[in-house]
C-alpha cells in the first residue's frame, strides 16, 4: 500500500486493539493496523488473546451475596409491602390495571 507513511511498530499496534474491536478506528487507521496484522504473527496472536480475554471475562458471574446482605434487603422488601398495604393507594393519573 503506497499511502502508508510508515509501518506501525508492534508496540504501537497493541494500543489500537480495543479501538479496532470497537470499530472506533478511522478507515485509514484500520487499514494500517490490518496491514500490520497481516505481516505480524505476534500482533495477530495478541489480537486473538484479547478476543479470548473478552470471552473469558464474560464467564465471570457476579459474586454471591453475603447472606446478611440478602436478608437485610428481603427485610426491606417486607417492610415496604407492609407499609404499602397499610397506606391507602395514592391517586395516580395512570389508568387502573384490569384484574
Amino acid at each position: 500500500m503506497r499511502l502508508l507513511a510508515r509501518d506501525l511498530a508492534c508496540v504501537e499496534a497493541v494500543e489500537l486493539v480495543t479501538d479496532y474491536l470497537e470499530g472506533a478506528l478511522s478507515r485509514r487507521a484500520r487499514r494500517r493496523y490490518e496491514h500490520h496484522l497481516a505481516a505480524c504473527d505476534g500482533c495477530e496472536a495478541y489480537l486473538e488473546q484479547v478476543r479470548a480475554t473478552i470471552r473469558a471475562t464474560g464467564q465471570v458471574e457476579p459474586k454471591d451475596l453475603e447472606p446478611e446482605t440478602l436478608d437485610a434487603l428481603v427485610d426491606l422488601y417486607r417492610q415496604f409491602r407492609a407499609e404499602d398495604a397499610a397506606e391507602p393507594t395514592p391517586p395516580t393519573d395512570e389508568p387502573e390495571q384490569g384484574p
Binding site: R51, T57, Y77, R78, Q97
Partner: protein
C-alpha cells in the same frame, strides 16, 4: 427465568422474585455505586436505596431498556445526588499497556505472545481460570474495574456504559483498553505458567 419474568412476579407481590433479582444484580449495583461514593458501606447504602426506589417505581418500568440498564440508571441518579464525591475526570495514563520488556528497541516484539484461545477454552470449564480473571478485575483501578465489569462481564454496549458513567465513549474505550490489557496479562501468566 429472565429478568422480565421476575419483574412480572414482583409486580404480583412475589417475594421470591425480589430475592432472585437482588441475587442477580445487587453486586453490580454496589460496584457501580463505588465509583461515586467513598466507601463500600456508602455504596451498599446507595444500592439499598435503589432497591427501595425499584419497589416504589416497578409499575412504571416500561421495558424500553433492559431491567439491568434501568436499575443502573436509578442507581447512578441516586449516587450522583448522594454523591460523597463528584465523579472525577479519568486521568489518562500514557504508558503502554504491554510490559515494555516484551519489545525490542525498534518497537517490534522481542518476546511475542502466542495464541491462547485453545488453552483458555480448555480451562473455562474448571473454575481456575475464571477465578484468575475475577481476581485480575478486582485489582483494577476503580474506573477500569467498573468499565470492564459493565462492558465485558455484564455485556452492556459501550454507549450504555458511557451514558451510565457520564463518560465519553472515547474515555470508556481508553479505560476498557487498559483494563482488558491487564486481564489479558493475567490470563497469559496463568497459561504460560501451565500449572493448573
Amino acid at each position: 427465568m429472565d429478568d422480565e419474568g421476575l419483574l412480572e412476579r414482583l409486580l404480583a407481590g412475589d417475594e421470591a422474585a425480589f430475592r432472585e433479582l437482588v441475587e442477580r444484580h445487587h453486586e453490580t449495583l454496589v460496584r457501580v455505586a463505588g465509583l461515586y461514593v467513598a466507601s463500600r458501606s456508602a455504596a451498599e447504602d446507595v444500592a439499598q436505596d435503589t432497591w427501595l426506589a425499584v419497589l416504589k417505581g416497578v409499575h412504571r418500568f416500561e421495558g424500553r431498556s433492559s431491567l439491568k440498564t434501568w436499575l443502573l440508571r436509578i442507581l447512578v441518579n441516586r449516587a450522583r445526588t448522594t454523591g460523597v464525591r463528584e465523579h472525577r475526570q479519568v486521568p489518562i495514563d500514557p504508558t503502554g499497556t504491554v510490559d515494555a520488556s516484551r519489545f525490542a528497541a525498534s518497537g517490534a516484539w522481542a518476546d511475542p505472545p502466542e495464541p491462547f484461545t485453545e488453552a483458555v477454552e480448555r480451562r473455562l470449564d474448571d473454575a481456575g481460570l475464571v477465578a484468575d480473571v475475577r481476581a485480575a478485575i478486582d485489582t483494577l483501578p476503580e474506573a477500569q474495574r467498573a468499565v470492564v465489569t459493565l462492558r465485558d462481564v455484564e455485556g452492556l454496549s459501550t454507549g450504555e456504559v458511557a451514558s451510565l458513567l457520564a463518560l465519553s465513549e472515547g474515555n470508556v474505550r481508553v479505560l476498557l483498553h487498559r483494563g482488558r490489557a491487564k486481564v489479558r496479562a493475567a490470563i497469559e501468566a496463568t497459561v504460560r505458567g501451565g500449572v493448573r
